[in-house]
Symmetry: C2
Subunit: 412 residues, 2 copies
């Protein structure tokens, strides 16, 4: 088998941890596999470098920042290679550009556009372990780029595609994907398998195990991804194409997000273009909106203008700025009043099985009602239902839903 192993920053935070990681890579090779290891910077190193750059310039130019930040992974792969050699293993390390990782020129958030892993192939053929610096590549000008946070996952999946690897193992500090956050619900259960689509919804909803773009990339090319613990031998969770082998339960996981705030514009004239005007202002400020709800107009008198209430959620960090923006624009938009609420939580159910199961929403609302939890916003997609509730009920809601949908039991 050809195996890609990606180790995150917390798995290579110290030389001692790097030794553990090296032993695992060597053990995999000794089982008869070809091994390519993708490494992140040692935990804390990227932050240290960014801080240094910000002391040099409060708003560092992305190209120069990339030069500085890319050194983190460069040191990791060198140390990893040296540790392997200390164990008597043949190994060679490659920087992103040497591994043939070509990207566009959007410094700090580049996307991989092409891959030429010929040097990696040559070294694998010589029986060497190959270590590759994650998170970085080179653009058409010959400049170093970085792929943004979590970019090492993207490197690993891209290499898995380019090298036609049999498996892409993502090693992290959790031992797989759980039905919900084990810190909130002690009945949370590690899943054996999960579909790409479910993982995408779970990742975007706060199960911060793997970077979304990489799951997407893996999905597009059918790369089997195995999320597992860097310092445990237990199998983790396989991310695969949805198949008949998967659990038959409609709901796979419950997630909770408490990092959003809601803004509501009351009594907005219900005219064409009002929504785009509101959201245009927010987008222009670079703020990403999550849920958007526009209530049905509540003025049935044909003589007067129709009015609507318009609500949306934004990341908590952007709440104050968004509120200011809206208040400044209230008159122009014609909103009677702006109200905001930071005390919200979003609880979501995810599962590809929802496509074919009626009644998931009904059971969700019923479960929350039984706990006397009021729902203030609802949004649904094909494989997800999200409800906004009062923040203080967030964890209670997760536990109640986990019980209600019997997620602690694997159903085949």
């Amino acid at each position: 088998m050809r195996v890609i192993q990606k180790y995150g920053g917390s798995s290579v935070a110290t030389l001692e941890l790097i030794r553990g990681v090296a032993k695992r890579a060597i053990a995999t090779k000794n089982e008869g596999h070809e091994v390519v290891v993708v490494l992140s910077a040692m935990k804390g190193e990227t932050d240290r470098l960014i801080e240094l750059a910000k002391k040099a310039h409060p708003n560092p130019e992305p190209r120069e920042l990339d030069n500085i930040v890319a050194t983190g992974e460069q040191v990791s792969i060198g140390l990893f290679a040296l540790v392997c050699q200390g164990f008597g293993e043949k190994v060679k390390s490659f920087l992103g550009f040497q591994a043939g990782v070509k990207t566009d020129d959007h410094h700090g958030r580049a996307r991989i556009t092409d891959l030429d892993p010929s040097r990696i192939r040559t070294e694998l053929a010589k029986g060497r372990i190959v270590a590759v610096a994650g998170f970085q590549g080179i653009d058409r000008h010959g400049d170093l780029t970085t792929l943004g946070r979590g970019g090492s996952d993207a490197t690993a999946v891209a290499l898995a595609i380019g090298l036609k690897a049999d498996i892409c193992e993502i090693y992290t500090d959790v031992d797989g994907i759980y039905t919900t956050d084990p810190h909130i619900c002690e009945k949370a259960r590690k899943m054996e398998r999960i579909s790409y689509e479910e993982m995408l919804e779970l990742a975007s909803l706060g199960a911060k195990v793997m970077e979304i773009r990489s799951v997407e990339l893996g999905m597009n090319y059918g790369v089997a991804i195995h999320v597992r613990h860097a310092h445990s031998q237990a199998t983790g969770t396989l991310i695969l194409k949805e198949d008949s082998d998967m659990e038959k339960t409609p709901v796979r996981g419950v997630t909770l997000s408490v990092n959003e705030a809601r803004i509501t514009l009351l009594k907005v004239p219900d005219l064409p273009g009002v929504a785009s005007r509101i959201l245009g202002l927010v987008a222009k400020a670079g703020i990403v909106v999550d849920m958007i709800i526009q209530n049905r107009s509540y003025n049935d008198n044909p003589e007067t203008e129709k009015m609507t209430d318009f609500s949306f959620t934004v990341p908590l960090n952007d709440y104050a700025q968004t509120l200011e923006l809206m208040e400044a624009a209230a008159q122009e938009i014609g909103a009677e009043r702006i109200v905001g609420d930071e005390d919200i939580a979003k609880v979501s159910l995810v599962g590809v099985g929802m496509r074919n199961h009626a009644g998931v929403a009904a059971l969700m609302f019923q479960t929350l009602a039984k706990e006397s939890i009021n729902i203030s916003m609802i949004s649904t997609s094909e494989i997800k239902i999200s409800c906004v509730i009062e923040k203080k009920y967030g964890e209670l809601a997760v536990r109640a839903l986990h019980d209600s949908f019997e997620l602690d039991k694997a159903q085949k």
Copy 2:
């Protein structure tokens, strides 16, 4: 004018110092010049990285070590560029390989084999300051290499050649080349100009201002080098081709080295090949020999084997090992006895004028004799005379010679 400015590690040790360096580069540009800045790693950073690598492997593979160590300069140029941008200046930084610095593949001590500064030219034409990571390049395999300690000087001189620069400024923490060490002799005088040949002898003798190979390179291509203080406006010392404008004094400088030890093999059979056998053993151990003296055979009886005493000096660090080597080989070589001496100093006079001036050696010996300093070894070259004396007289000898040759007075 096209100006190369090289700043060493002590000149960019902190962000505050980098700001000073950036201001100087910008001021040079504002005088109407094109400016290329070559930077070393922040002081202490290279040592930190080497130490880290040695923790990963006591004897790190040079290729992997280069990957790790090269990050030092990478961070420096990024920070420099950001600081310049903070001052509103247009600037672009280049890693060694982006600046077109091609080297052989001797990792850790690579030599520059070729230079393609086309990207630098393009940016200069756009009115930008260009910052280049010193000390590093890329070999024909596409692997990063480093040029060894002092390698940033080599980068600067190579760029001066490749870009046909008018001047190569080497900024350091001293304000020029002195007639001798000012810490030893308070009458030491900064020289305005000095020839490449003199600088080569002074550098190899311990005036650790600039790397030897770079002076050689500059000499071969006639690059005007200006050694000066990074944080002072005073002019330093110009290193140039010997010309009629230079001071007319035969002796230009006095140097002292106390980092050597002497080993003497007593009563060695004076047979062909004995010297090469002795030095072959030393060379095989990777030890660099400096002075070598073989006394005339002292047995004039044609009936018995001729004998000689054979002495050489090695770096103090290698003394113990060399002594062991010689003692182990004494019988094979046929030496009667091995004696070593760590308590030696080497005092040298340097000056291209010696070529045309008789009497320099005589005045040197006379000066030392007047101070009752015994000379135990002498070696001479065209522009240098060195005497080995007892270590405790080293500084006294320097002061006496400095006085005797009136080096405190500029002679035109």
